[in-house]
């Protein structure tokens, strides 16, 4: 690098100059991000500890296999790839905004900040969809008492346990109360008979109806910690994305108002950029721990 010559043979600690040759704000942003890395690291390692302590852990590819508009098709990794590429691309537009800032090009900074903000909002929208899909998803699961129920993925319920063999389903259906049978029949017959028609049927009729369905897949309930860690860590990351978007909007407004031109440098864009890249960096590891492995 062209600066290498400057850096050698300089007495950094002799006084009169910044020992790290960087502004206070930027140095502190780095140390904040380092501490934030430990926070995220601790969360992810805690997740790893619990996952390693369980005999069974849900396969992410069966949990995260939906894509908006594709119904119940099995598309593992598809939606999260979209989210990942949105975030990588918004990282690129952010670094381009920093680059335009170095050149003191206000119009360029504005343009790339807008693109970065759109990327951030797009990512948050994807996350909102994914959370809604999990929280409202209806999966038929066998509870610990041997009866069946309709279970969503939340911080206190997890339907993603090991599969229940087909031959033991009928015994479980016998142990299932009528109101749960109505719910189960309802999830299997979307667009079929309306809910109030189902509740008019007897338990035996409902059991026959449920067993006739080719969509009947029953799993045991899985480790509850799965939902807690997933929503906790992706929520904490999503909150970082949200605050990053707010920071970027403020930076965009300040750019438009010409504050950085008056100041003579665009270092605030660099600092906001550090935060934004950190959010992308954390996603690399959230993506790794929750979706890939």
């Amino acid at each position: 690098m062209s600066t290498a010559a400057v850096q050698h043979n300089t007495k950094w600690w002799a006084g009169g100059k910044s020992p790290f040759n960087a502004s206070y704000g930027k140095v502190m942003m780095w140390y904040f991000l380092m501490s934030d890395a430990f926070t995220f690291g601790a969360f992810l390692i805690s997740y790893g500890t619990i996952r390693f302590s369980q005999n069974y852990w849900p396969d992410p590819n069966t949990v995260f296999n939906a894509f908006p508009g594709f119904g119940h098709q099995d598309l593992p990794l598809a939606f999260v790839s979209l989210m990942t590429f949105i975030l990588i691309f918004s990282s690129v537009t952010m670094v381009l905004a920093v680059h335009e800032g170095h050149k003191m090009n206000r119009k360029g900074v504005e343009k790339y900040m807008i693109l970065t903000i759109i990327g951030g909002i797009g990512f948050l929208a994807c996350q909102a969809w994914e959370w809604t899909h999990l929280l409202t998803g209806e999966h038929i699961a066998m509870l610990n008492d041997g009866s069946l129920s309709v279970v969503p993925t939340t911080v206190s319920t997890n339907p993603w346990g090991p599969a229940v063999p087909h031959e033991s389903i009928s015994a479980a259906l016998q142990a299932t109360p009528h109101d749960k049978l109505v719910e189960i029949a309802g999830t299997l017959h979307h667009g079929g008979a309306a809910h109030h028609d189902m509740s008019a049927l007897s338990s035996a009729e409902l059991v026959n109806m449920i067993q006739a369905s080719s969509d009947l897949h029953v799993t045991k309930t899985g480790p509850v910690a799965f939902g807690g860690y997933f929503f906790g860590i992706t929520g904490f990351h999503g909150f970082h994305v949200l605050s990053g978007v707010v920071i970027n909007v403020i930076m965009w407004i300040k750019t438009r108002l010409g504050h950085f031109d008056q100041r003579g440098h665009y270092e605030m864009i660099e600092k906001a950029g550090l935060y934004w890249h950190f959010v992308d960096l954390v996603w690399v590891f959230v993506f790794l721990c929750f979706y890939l492995i």
Partner: protein, 146 residues
């Protein structure tokens, strides 16, 4: 570099305006290619390309290890180029990188702990009677009725 303003007279160096955006786009492509490779390997995990999960757990663990290393490569490029840490002076870089080495112990110790927890539970849970049945003989009879 002379026209590039710095925020304080004590700071003699600011990132020189790069000649172009070539390096940024190069890193974008590197990150994209690594991500696609990760996705292909991960898709293989979903579709049991590496054999029956019960039998070839060693190979699956190896593939997961490769995915982890690829993620670290992505982190290196994001921090080094997008966050310009590679352009900062060495003293400063070390104050950030050295504390992060704590993660080596942090990850190893806690995953080991989780694994040990599982092994201990599997070894002793079945042999030890449940706590409620151990309290008193009366409680034991109660349990026998069920």
């Amino acid at each position: 570099m002379s026209e590039h303003a710095v925020s304080s007279p004590e700071i003699t160096f600011a990132h020189p305006p790069a000649e172009g955006t070539g390096r940024i786009w190069k890193v974008f492509w590197i990150l994209s290619v690594i991500t696609i490779v990760e996705l292909v390997l991960g898709f293989g995990l979903a579709k049991d390309w590496y054999g029956d999960p019960e039998k070839s757990s060693g190979l699956i663990l190896f593939v997961k290890g490769v995915i982890c290393i690829l993620s670290l490569a992505k982190a290196f490029y994001i921090v080094g180029v997008f966050m310009h840490l590679g352009d900062e002076i060495k003293n400063f870089v070390m104050t950030i990188v050295v504390p992060l080495l704590l993660f080596i112990w942090f990850i190893a110790a806690f995953l080991w702990d989780g694994d040990s927890w599982k092994n201990l539970r599997n070894r002793y849970q079945e042999k030890l009677p449940a706590k409620t049945e151990q309290v008193a003989p009366a409680a034991k009879e109660h349990g026998a009725k069920d």
